[in-house]
């Protein structure tokens, strides 16, 4: 095995696919082999402004992400943290959605290398799909509840057989063995929050006796109006599971006799 030959191939494979194409005065389209997962390559421009030379994505990266993820979802939670970390680490500026890196002291190669790494890191947030986030939260919720409350007292996905034989108004977890059962809900998004509000209003109509508690994945992500209506009918709320485990345990101890 000729390591030198392999090394040469590696270099050629990457560097030969980097090209510049003039697009006006002091402006060049930069072609690279690096792609999004749909076969589209990163969109990069090398341009000179009054402040110097910059590599820019001209807003393409966020726009491309917006095909799959709402911009609001990019600006909060884990995705926002991943993006903020990448921007800081690779010294990339976010100018109202345009990602830029300034070329310092004619170090075009270094800036290019950092910019590519930063953009690829940011595009990786597509793997943090909503489905995956939601399923992890529900798993965490079930593990937590089954750890803290005796299993024989729990009934997951409970519905009232006399009023709701089709199971339209599900309770994530019902705790039995008290004068009033405790209905526990795990809330991960606006839709779930609305559904639970409707369920509790229906339970009120039916005259069910119960206590209720909601555990949010991240309450800050819930629409204010949706949360306001929800708060009218939900007895007790915890803004997140991960940062409130001790408080939730204390609450369980107090209400589950």
């Amino acid at each position: 095995m000729d390591i030198t030959l392999i090394e040469k191939q590696f270099r050629e494979m990457v560097s030969n696919q980097v090209k510049l194409k003039p697009e006006g005065v002091n402006r060049f389209r930069v072609f690279t082999p690096f792609q999004f997962e749909d076969g589209d390559c990163l969109s990069i421009v090398l341009k000179q402004t009054v402040a110097g030379w910059f590599l820019s994505d001209e807003g393409h990266t966020y726009m491309h992400l917006s095909y799959d993820i709402g911009i609001r979802d990019i600006e909060k939670g884990t995705r926002q943290k991943v993006i903020a970390g990448a921007l800081t680490y690779f010294d990339i500026q976010d100018n109202n959605g345009e990602l830029l890196i300034k070329i310092q002291e004619n170090q075009f190669g270094n800036a290019f290398y950092s910019f590519i790494q930063g953009l690829l890191k940011i595009t990786d947030i597509t793997y943090l799909s909503r489905e995956r986030v939601r399923s992890t939260f529900m798993e965490d919720f079930k593990i937590f509840v089954t750890t803290e409350i005796p299993k024989e007292r729990l009934k997951f996905d409970y519905f009232d057989p006399s009023h709701d034989p089709e199971g339209k108004y599900l309770v994530d977890c019902r705790v039995n063995g008290m004068q009033k059962p405790l209905f526990i809900y795990a809330i991960s998004n606006d839709d779930k929050c609305r559904d639970v509000t409707i369920s509790l209003l229906q339970f009120e109509k039916w005259g069910l006796l119960y206590r209720s508690v909601a555990i949010f994945e991240d309450q800050e992500n819930i629409n204010r109006k949706v949360l306001a209506r929800f708060s009218d009918v939900m007895e007790k709320q915890f803004s997140s599971l991960s940062s409130n485990k001790d408080r939730i345990k204390k609450f369980f101890t107090e209400v589950i006799v």
């Binding site: 807003g59 966020y62 917006s66 095909y67």
Partner: protein, 158 residues
């Protein structure tokens, strides 16, 4: 609906009549500025609880960077399956299976063969000269995917 859309499923979904609730002009007027691009989406519900989504994206810095997209969200999911995407000319595209590469306006197509290998459904794309701006791209999308906007003459609406 199956996890993988076969080519017949895709063809049937493209042919299905889709009646948008708003006119083309209203659709464009709904575009809002977000992070260096403008965007608007409309929903076309289906009887089974699933829905089509028509998406417009226009880059605010580069006028040649835009997208008109038709996707479907099946009942019980929040994942958009993109059936067609009419892209501008702001980046190269590579078709992995065909080893093709081009820098041009291009149309992404959902295909069964790419899904079977585990790639994104709309990875395959074809270069096109049918449009050069977002409005014309939407016109092509509407023609190819049977999307009706309010009005008597579909072509005059654009």
């Amino acid at each position: 609906m199956a996890d993988i859309l076969n080519d017949q499923d895709i063809e049937n979904l493209l042919k299905e009549e889709k009646h948008a609730a708003v006119s083309v002009d209203v659709f464009f007027s709904q575009m809002r500025e977000k992070k260096a691009h403008r965007e608007a989406d409309i929903i076309v519900p289906r009887p089974d609880g699933s829905y089509f989504k028509v998406i417009l994206r226009q880059n605010s810095i580069n006028p040649l960077d835009f997208s008109a997209i038709l996707g479907i969200v099946v009942k019980g999911s929040n994942q958009l399956i993109k059936l067609r995407r009419y892209n501008g000319k702001s980046h190269e595209h590579k078709n992995k299976l065909e080893a093709e590469q081009f820098y041009d306006f291009h149309i992404h197509h959902a295909t069964e063969r790419y899904q079977n290998i585990g790639y994104k459904e709309e990875l395959y794309a074809i270069p096109t000269e049918r449009y050069a701006n977002l409005r014309d791209a939407l016109k092509c999308l509407a023609q190819d995917c049977n999307i009706m906007f309010p009005g008597s003459n579909q072509m005059e609406l654009f």
